[in-house]
Amino acid sequence: MASAADDIVVIVNQNIGVNKMSRDDVIDIFLGRSRRLPSGVTALPLDLPSTSLEREQFYSRLTGKSMGEINAYWARLIFSGRASPPSLAMSQEEAMQMVADNRNAMGYVAKSKVTPSVKIIFELQPE
C-alpha cells in the first residue's frame, strides 16, 4: 500500500521555537504523561479519527502497540481523570490547519500531506 509505506511525521506550528523532538518526548505528550514541550511550552496533541489508517500506523510505529492496546491503556486512566487523551481532528487536513492555526497544537500526518504551514519535528519511518 502506497500510503502505508509513507512516513508519518509529527508536525508543530511554525512559530514554535522547537525544531526537534525525541521519540520519548513524543510518547510522553501523546500518551498523557506530559503536556509540555522541553522548552516549557504547553503542548496540545491532536489525534486522527480512530478509523484513520495514519492513527493506527502512528501509534504502532511509535509504541509498537495495537490500537486495542492503546485504547485499553486510556481506559484505565480515564477513571482517575489525572490524564486525558489527545483532542480529535477529523482529518489530516484539519489537523494541519489546527496546527497551523494554534501555536501549541501538535499533530501527526502522512508526510505527503505536509504543507509548509507546519513544521516537522519528528518522523516515523515504516518498519
Binding site: 520519548d24 510518547i27 500518551l31 498523557g32 504523561r33 509504541t63 509498537g64 502497540k65 491503556y73 484505565r76 486512566l77 477513571f79 482517575s80 489525572r82 490524564a83
Partner: protein, 800 residues
C-alpha cells in the same frame, strides 16, 4: 506372668518395633516438618509474587502517568489479601501510594520473619528498559507462620498416624506368624516326654515353613539326645558292673595286689596283700608303706621297683619275710606308667622249700646222705671261688664191691656202703669233705693238705678202717679199699682234671698188688696212653689176623695120655712179638673186644677140632668164656651152629667159665649154662677156690668139671693147708660126681700127690706150655710119659 512376658519375644518385639518406629518417626517427622515448612514458605513467597504479577501492568500504567489514585486503588486491592501487611509504590522521586492492613503483623513485630518481604521494579509500558517505579510488599508474618504451622501440623499428623498403623500392623504380623507358633512350640516342648518317645507336633498353619523345619530339627535333635542318653546310661551301667566285677576280683584274689611308687608308698592294696606280707594290723591306716611289711631285704624290693620304673619292663623278685615260720614271697612288678608299679604278691614258700630240697637231693646221695658228684663239683666250685688253698683229693674204692653186691644182694651192698661212709667220716677232720661219686667210689677232699706224708696218714687210717670186718645180718664181710690221691693244684687246676688224676692213681692202686693207695704221677698218664694205644691195636689185631690160638694139653693123670687141650689166645704183634695174655686179655675184657675175640676163638677151635677129627684123634678143646660174653655175645645157638658147620659133636668142646660169670647175673648165667649142658657141652669151672664162691655153688650150678687154681697146686708141696684144701675139693667133687682138673702142675711130686688124692686130670708147664697146633700135634704123637709115683716130693722143682 509379667516377668516371662517382659522376657518374651512378644514384649521384645513390640518394644523394638515401637521404639524403632518412634525413632524413625521422629526423624522423618522432623524432616517432613522442615520440608513442609520450607515448602510452605516457598509457596507463600510464590503467592506474593503472583499477587505482584496480577497488579504489575496496572502499576506500570499508574506509575507512567504518576496517577496516585490508580496506584492507591492498586494498593488497596493488594491489601485485601490476608497475607499482605503493607504495600508501598515508590517512583524515582516520590512515593506514589502506601497502604497497611489493619491488625496485621509485620517483620519488625516478630523476631524472626519466616517469610521475607518482596519488591518488584516496574518498567514503563512503552519501554522495557526503563524502570519507572518499585512496589514493595511486606507479608503478614503471623499469617505466614500460621500457614506454615498449619501445614506442618497436618503433614506430621498424617505421617505419625501412618507410622503408628504400620507399627501396629508389624507387631500383629510378628505376633501371629512368629511369636505365637514359637510359644506354641515352647508350650509343646514343655509338655512332651521325650524319653517316652513323644514327638513335637508342628503347628498346622505352619506346615512346610521354617517353623515346621524347626520342629523337625528339634525332634531330630531330641531323638539324637535321647539315643545318646540311653547309650550313655547303658555304658555307665555296664561300667559299673565291670567295676564291681574287677573290684570283686581284686578284693578276693588269692594273690596279693598292690600299687606303690618308687618310695614305697602304697596307694592301693587288697586283703590278700595284707595277709601274705604279714602286714602289721596297726599300719593299715591312711598311708601304708611297703617298708611296714617285715621284709628281710626291703632294699632289694625298692631297687626292683626302681628298675621296673626305669626300664618299663616287668620285674620278678623272690623275697623272704622276717617271720617265725619261713615265708618266701614272689613279687611281680609291672610299670603302670605314672611312676608307680603294680605288684602281684604270691606265696612261694613251698616252691622255695621244694627247690631247696630238690637242690639238696640233686647234690646229695640218697643212700649215704653224703654229697654226690654234683655236690662235689659245687663244693669245689665254692672253694675255688673263695681261696686257693691247696688240698688233696682222695678217691676211695671198695675192693670187689661188685662181687659183694652180686653175691649177697643189693641190700647188703647198700649196708656195706653205709658202713663204709661212716668209717670214712670217722677218718677225716671236720674241715675235710666227703662225697660219694659212684657205686662204691668215695671222694675225700683233705683241706689244706699239700704233702704226700699228710695224705698218706689219712690213707693208712682209711685202709685200716676198711680192713675191719663188716657185720651184716650175721655175715661178716671183710673187704678193703683202694685209694688214689691227687693234689690241688699241682695235679689238676680244676675238678675234672683233678678227678682224672685221682682216677689214674686209683686204677694204679687197684692193679698194684700189695699197695692199696697210690699218689698220682704223670707217668700214669703215659701208661694209660699206652693202654689206650694197645686197645686200638688189639682192635685191629682181630681184623689183621694177628691172633693165634695156642693149646695147652690136658693130661689124664691115671693113664698118662693127652685127652684134650685148653685153647688159649695169643697175640702175635707185628713189632712187639708175642704179647702175653696178661697184657691184653684184661684189656679185652674191659672192652667189648673180648666178644669178637671169643667168636674168633670158637671158630678157630672148631676148625682145629675138625682137623683132629679128620686125623682120627679123639681130642677135646676147652675154650675160656668171659663174663662179658654171657649170654648174648656167645649164644648157645651160635656155638651149636659152629660145631655143626665143622661136623663136630658137642662133646668135642668144653666151656671154661670163672666164678665171676655166675656172680654177675646168676639167673641169666645159669640159663645159659643149662642150655649148653642140655646140648651136650661140658662146663668147666675155672680158677676154682680163688673167688668168693662158696662150695654150695658147686651144687647149685650145672657144671661138669672143676679146675683147681694153680695157686693151690703151686703151694701144695709145703703148705699143708693147701694140700688139704685140694684134697677136700677133689673129694667133694668126687662126691658130687664132678671131675677135677689140676692146673699149674709143675713137677712130678705134684702129680704124685694129685694121683694119690684121686685127681684124674691135670695140666701145667710140667707137661707143656701152651703151644701152637703143629707143636701140639708133635707132642701128641710123642705122648706123655709119667714117672712112677714118688714116696716124697723134693722142693724147688720149678718149671717156671
Amino acid at each position: 506372668m509379667i516377668n516371662p512376658f517382659r522376657k518374651g519375644i512378644l514384649f521384645g518385639t513390640i518394644i523394638s518395633i515401637v521404639g524403632t518406629a518412634f525413632c524413625v518417626s521422629a526423624i522423618f517427622i522432623l524432616m517432613v516438618a522442615f520440608v513442609t515448612a520450607a515448602d510452605t514458605r516457598k509457596d507463600f513467597a510464590r503467592h506474593m509474587d503472583e499477587l505482584l504479577d496480577t497488579v504489575e501492568s496496572t502499576a506500570s500504567v499508574a506509575c507512567f502517568v504518576e496517577d496516585k489514585q490508580l496506584a492507591a486503588e492498586l494498593v488497596s486491592g493488594l491489601l485485601k489479601n490476608r497475607v499482605v501487611s503493607r504495600v508501598v509504590v515508590q517512583t524515582a522521586d516520590k512515593e506514589l501510594a502506601r497502604g497497611e492492613r489493619a491488625g496485621s503483623y509485620r517483620a519488625d513485630a516478630t523476631p524472626e520473619p519466616m517469610v521475607q518481604a518482596v519488591s518488584r521494579k516496574i518498567v514503563s509500558p512503552f519501554s522495557k528498559d526503563k524502570v519507572i517505579c518499585e512496589i514493595s510488599m511486606e507479608p503478614d508474618t503471623r499469617e505466614a507462620n500460621r500457614l506454615v504451622w498449619e501445614n506442618v501440623y497436618f503433614t506430621v499428623s498424617l505421617l505419625a498416624l501412618q507410622l503408628l498403623f504400620v507399627a501396629v500392623a508389624v507387631v500383629l504380623i510378628v505376633l501371629y506368624f512368629v511369636v505365637r507358633p514359637i510359644r506354641a512350640l515352647s508350650n509343646n516342648l514343655h509338655s512332651i516326654d521325650a524319653a517316652a518317645g513323644e514327638k513335637l507336633l508342628s503347628p498346622k498353619e505352619h506346615e512346610g515353613n521354617e517353623i515346621a523345619r524347626l520342629t523337625d530339627d528339634i525332634n531330630n535333635l531330641v531323638g539324637t539326645l535321647v539315643d545318646a542318653l540311653q547309650n550313655e546310661q547303658q555304658l555307665r551301667t555296664q561300667q559299673e558292673i565291670n567295676q564291681q566285677k574287677y573290684r570283686s576280683i581284686f578284693d578276693n584274689a588269692g594273690s596279693g595286689i598292690f600299687i606303690a611308687d618308687v618310695d614305697g608308698h602304697i596307694s592301693s592294696f587288697n586283703r590278700s596283700f595284707l595277709l601274705l606280707t604279714h602286714f602289721p594290723a596297726d599300719e593299715h591306716g591312711q598311708s601304708p608303706e611297703l617298708a611296714h611289711a617285715p621284709w628281710r631285704d626291703h632294699d632289694l624290693l625298692i631297687k626292683t621297683i626302681e628298675a621296673c620304673v626305669m626300664t618299663g619292663a616287668n620285674q620278678s623278685v623272690d623275697l623272704e619275710l622276717d617271720t617265725e615260720e619261713p615265708c618266701w614271697l614272689n613279687v611281680i612288678l609291672a610299670d603302670s606308667g605314672d611312676g608307680q608299679v603294680q605288684g602281684v604278691v604270691s606265696d612261694v614258700t613251698q616252691v622255695k622249700q621244694s627247690e631247696t630240697t630238690a637242690l639238696q637231693m640233686v647234690v646229695t646221695d640218697s643212700l649215704t646222705g653224703l654229697p654226690n658228684r654234683l655236690g662235689l663239683e659245687r663244693y669245689v666250685l665254692t672253694i675255688q671261688c673263695g681261696h686257693r688253698d691247696p688240698c688233696a683229693l682222695m678217691l676211695v674204692d671198695i675192693k670187689e664191691f661188685t662181687q659183694i653186691n652180686e653175691s649177697m644182694g643189693m641190700p647188703v651192698g647198700d649196708k656195706v656202703l653205709k658202713v663204709a661212709a661212716a668209717r670214712l667220716m670217722g677218718c677225716i677232720k671236720k674241715t675235710d669233705w666227703l662225697a660219694r661219686l659212684g657205686s662204691d667210689k668215695f671222694a675225700v677232699v683233705l683241706h689244706g693238705v699239700s704233702t704226700p706224708a699228710a695224705a698218706e696218714n689219712v690213707a693208712i687210717r682209711i685202709i685200716g678202717a676198711f680192713r675191719q670186718p663188716i657185720e651184716i645180718e650175721e655175715t661178716s664181710i671183710t673187704s678193703g679199699c683202694d685209694i688214689g690221691i691227687a693234689f690241688y693244684p699241682a695235679d689238676g687246676a680244676d675238678l675234672p682234671s683233678l678227678l682224672r688224676s685221682a682216677e689214674f692213681a686209683l686204677s694204679y692202686a687197684k692193679t698194684t698188688a700189695g699197695k692199696d693207695f697210690q699218689f698220682f704221677m704223670p707217668e700214669m698218664v703215659v701208661t694209660a696212653e699206652q693202654h689206650r694205644k694197645l686197645e686200638t691195636e688189639l682192635h685191629q689185631a682181630i681184623q689183621r689176623d694177628e691172633l693165634r690160638l695156642f693149646y695147652q694139653p690136658i693130661i689124664d693123670l691115671q693113664e698118662g695120655r693127652i685127652v684134650g687141650a685148653e685153647a688159649l689166645v695169643r697175640w702175635q704183634h707185628p713189632t712187639r712179638g708175642l704179647v702175653p695174655p696178661d697184657a691184653f686179655i684184661p684189656l679185652a675184657e674191659k672192652t667189648d673186644l673180648i666178644c669178637g675175640m671169643g667168636l674168633w676163638v670158637l671158630e678157630t677151635a672148631c676148625r682145629q677140632l675138625a682137623v683132629w677129627q679128620a686125623a682120627g684123634q679123639q681130642l677135646y678143646l676147652s675154650i675160656n668164656v668171659s663174663a662179658r660174653q654171657i649170654p648174648d655175645a656167645l649164644p648157645p645157638g651160635l656155638i651149636l651152629e659152629a660145631l655143626k658147620r665143622h661136623g663136630l659133636s658137642a662133646s668135642a668142646l668144653a666151656l671154661e667159665i670163672t666164678e665171676g660169670v655166675l656172680l654177675s647175673d646168676i639167673a641169666e648165667g645159669v640159663n645159659w649154662l643149662k642150655e649148653l649142658r642140655d646140648a651136650g657141652f661140658r662146663v668147666y669151672m675155672d680158677d676154682f677156690g680163688t673167688g668168693y664162691s662158696s662150695l654150695s655153688y658147686l651144687k647149685r650150678f650145672p657144671i661138669d668139671v672143676v679146675k683147681v687154681d694153680k695157686s693151690f697146686i703151686h703151694d701144695m708141696n709145703e703148705e699143708t693147708n693147701d694140700r688139704l684144701l685140694v684134697q677136700a675139693i677133689v673129694a667133694m667133687a668126687d662126691a658130687l660126681g664132678l671131675q677135677v682138673v689140676a692146673e699149674g702142675i709143675e713137677n712130678e711130686c705134684q702129680i704124685s700127690l694129685l694121683r694119690q688124692m684121686g685127681c684124674r686130670y691135670g695140666q701145667g708147664y710140667y707137661f707143656s706150655r701152651p703151644i701152637p697146633a703143629d707143636q701140639f700135634d708133635l707132642l701128641h704123637q710123642k705122648g706123655i710119659h709119667l714117672s712112677p709115683p714118688k714116696a716124697r716130693c723134693d722142693e724147688g722143682e720149678d718149671f717156671g
